[in-house]
């Protein structure tokens, strides 16, 4: 079993640089969000917006929440809930579409 230390060697990524990335992606998101559907179809726009939001979530989780450097057990504790979330949303959407 992996040994968990109380405070693993404190690593400081460049927090300011990550913040700049977060702001740049947010600005791009707002820009994409304003593009009319006649120019950018929803089928392209929504996956693009979700990808950018996903990139921001990963940046915060990996570097600000230190998942990249911390014990994998913490990551595991979080990951178990994700399949349940996806299943929950799929079930609701499928139920709605079939209604």
């Amino acid at each position: 079993m992996e040994h968990i230390t109380p405070h693993p060697e404190h690593k400081s990524p460049n927090y300011i640089l990550i913040f700049v990335w977060l702001i740049v992606i947010t600005a791009a998101e707002v820009g994409v969000g304003y593009i009319p559907n006649t120019v950018l179809p929803t089928l392209v726009q929504y996956p693009l917006l979700l990808s950018m939001a996903g990139a921001k979530v990963l940046l915060v989780a990996l570097y600000y929440m230190h998942l990249r450097y911390d014990s994998r057990w913490f990551l595991l504790a979080m990951i178990v809930s994700l399949p349940l979330s996806v299943m929950f949303i799929l079930a609701l959407v499928l139920g709605y579409v079939r209604k």
Binding site: I23, S85, F88, Y96
Partner: protein, 263 residues
């Protein structure tokens, strides 16, 4: 010799004193929710519950802040407990988000122009919350490097940014209300205010928590060897930030029925 000291330190688990404040807080929560469910006396019972809840929370926080030990929870257990709690929060917000998307598809097909008009204000609010995540992670870094002054300033800035976020959200709610979107108007309005309001409540809880961490920092409760209080608070705050990142995209930017067939 160093190893022995380290082991002795890890074996000692400090537990907080018995307290009746959690009971008061729980009672207040019960009265608040019970009052909200009432038809006739809601305006009297619910505020009373809120008052009891506030007294319970204040009493509990005061008793914790008064502790003269540097940390009340073993670091690993505390962090793991927070991650498990956050996993449960993922499921909680999943339910709220899914309900919102479905109710929007049913009740408000097409683009909601009131929400589109909110995007500039909400973008500023997103910037504010992202900045607060930066101040929190830098306060964690400051604690790990024993930079006491920087730690306190950054925690104070976090409180300031969190309060600004909540204030702007209140301003946005007021605008939306005047545009005709209300909590009780239809299922869409209920889902919107419940989803974003629950997130706002999490920010308010985070502000209170940050204030407690700041008071402990002012009392010299953190140093380079013990900063778990800052770290665990940081995990919560960043999670609240992540939820907002998703809400900003799903609620405001993807502002139609999300491709679902309109019934």
């Amino acid at each position: 010799m160093t190893e022995m000291t380290h082991e002795t330190h890890e074996e000692h688990i400090h537990l907080p004193e018995n307290s009746f404040w959690p009971l008061v807080l729980g009672g207040g929560m019960f009265v608040l929710l019970f009052g909200m469910a009432l038809r006739d006396y809601r305006m009297f019972v619910a505020p009373a519950g809120l008052l009891i809840l506030g007294v319970g929370l204040g009493g509990w926080i005061t008793s914790i802040v008064g502790e003269k030990v540097p940390s009340i929870t073993p670091v690993i257990a505390g962090k793991m407990a927070m991650w498990v709690f956050l996993a449960s929060e993922v499921l909680f917000f999943t339910g709220l988000i899914a309900s919102f998307l479905l109710l929007r598809a049913e009740a408000a097909p097409g683009v909601d122009h009131a929400l589109v008009a909110s995007i500039p204000l909400v973008s500023i609010n997103t910037f504010i919350l992202l900045t607060s995540s930066l101040t929190v992670v830098m306060s964690h870094d400051a604690a790990a490097r024993n930079l006491q002054g920087r730690l306190k300033v950054l925690l104070f800035l976090t409180i300031l940014l969190g309060t600004t976020f909540v204030s702007l959200q209140g301003y946005e709610y007021n605008n939306l209300y005047h545009e005709g979107l209300s909590w009780t108007g239809n299922g869409y309005g209920t889902a919107f205010f419940t989803l974003t309001g629950t997130h706002g409540l999490h920010v308010i809880i985070g502000i209170i928590w940050c204030a407690v961490v700041l008071i402990r920092a002012l009392q010299g409760g953190f140093n380079a060897k013990n900063y778990s209080g800052v770290e665990i608070f940081g995990l919560y705050w960043h999670f609240v930030d992540i939820v907002w990142i998703l809400l900003f995209t799903l609620v405001y930017l993807m502002n139609t029925s999300a491709g679902l067939p309109v019934k």
